[in-house]
């Protein structure tokens, strides 16, 4: 890796750390939501720099875009904007978190370097995808051919998960709150039949 790349990585990671600390220290929920959007955007830039453009795309659209919006909608619904004041620092959770983090960092020391062609993850099926997928699927974008074709079964599972999430939200929140209780009258007398979602 050349020094400029290393500098960009360190700069982005420092910015992300600064935003994370600002999130922890902020009292205003609105500011927290906005800062987490910025955090996602920085993560997206980092993914671009790691040449994972597809992941960066998703992070920017979902993390910085839609989820920020959903957080804002939740804030508007709950009318809670100010978090309670900081409690005094408790030592036991702090020690546990620091120890876990230190062990995780210690664990990464044994991992192969980023982009190492000799890494086990890059020796298994990756060479076959790189060599054969343009011939077998005719697609230049290997991410798409792996996602939709070679690992189509996994992607079907992911889509079902998303469908389940959407259906779950619709079932819990999407209808009139008293609609499915036969025999129970609304306070106003009408039975809240209109569609909510």
């Amino acid at each position: 890796m050349n020094p400029v790349d290393i500098f960009i990585d360190i700069f982005l990671l420092l910015l992300m750390a600064a935003v994370a600390i600002a999130i922890v220290r902020s009292h205003l929920m609105f500011a927290v939501v906005m800062l987490s959007g910025i955090f996602s955007l920085l993560a997206a830039v980092l993914y671009v720099h790691l040449t994972a453009v597809d992941v960066a795309f998703t992070e920017a659209a979902v993390g910085a875009g839609v989820s920020t919006l959903l957080f804002l909608a939740t804030l508007a619904l709950t009318h809670v904007n100010v978090e309670e004041k900081h409690k005094p620092v408790r030592m036991v959770p702090l020690v546990i978190v620091v120890a876990t983090g230190a062990m995780l960092i210690w664990g990464t020391l044994d991992m192969p370097h980023y982009g190492d062609p000799e890494a086990p993850a890059n020796k298994h099926v990756a060479p076959r995808y790189i060599q054969d997928s343009p011939k077998e699927t005719g697609l230049p974008n290997m991410v798409t051919s792996v996602l939709a074709s070679y690992r189509g079964y996994d992607t079907l599972g992911e889509v079902v998960v998303i469908f389940t999430a959407g259906a779950g939200v619709l079932v819990i929140l999407g209808r009139g709150r008293r609609r499915w209780r036969p025999g129970v009258k609304d306070e106003d007398g009408d039975n809240a039949e209109e569609e909510r979602a």
């Binding site: 659209a61 909608a73 991410v143 798409t144 939709a148 074709s149 189509g152 079907l156 469908f163 999430a165």
Partner: protein, 138 residues
């Protein structure tokens, strides 16, 4: 939000381009970055922007809830039918090679349809969650 004319004008200008970009990401995902997941979210963002600026009621007129629910399930069904079609054409579940005259053409059709299914489900999930959240009048 009827008085914010700048917001309304800018949103009206941007929404067609957001939709166009989503379609580009959807159907160009085979060649460039992107695919069904990303395109679905961008597509949903256009509708959410419309509903934010012009009100949730007008948003529901553009994308009624029942249409959205059909698309929500339709995406998963499309994906599964592509998989089952592989079985009926004499191969295995989600084997696209048999869908076209040549294996490469079959892969093309299969990936295109599967990504379309992903895009439909993702976009209508996002729209549904936003409508539900924004439509709660507590």
């Amino acid at each position: 939000m009827n008085r914010h004319s700048i917001l309304r004008v800018v949103a009206k200008l941007m929404i067609p381009y957001i939709l166009l970009f989503a379609l580009y990401v959807q159907f160009h995902g085979d060649f460039g970055p992107g695919g069904g997941f990303q395109a679905g979210v961008i597509f949903a963002a256009a509708f959410i922007l419309y509903a934010l600026i012009f009100g949730i009621e007008n948003g529901r007129k553009v994308m009624p809830a029942w249409v959205n629910r059909i698309l929500l399930a339709g995406g998963v069904l499309l994906y599964s039918f592509v998989g089952v079609a592989g079985i009926f054409l004499g191969s295995e579940f989600l084997d696209y090679n048999v869908l076209g005259p040549t294996p490469v053409a079959g892969q093309h059709y299969g990936i295109l349809l599967v990504e379309l299914g992903v895009g439909l489900t993702v976009s209508s999930t996002m729209i549904a969650i936003f409508y539900v959240f924004a439509g709660q009048d507590i």
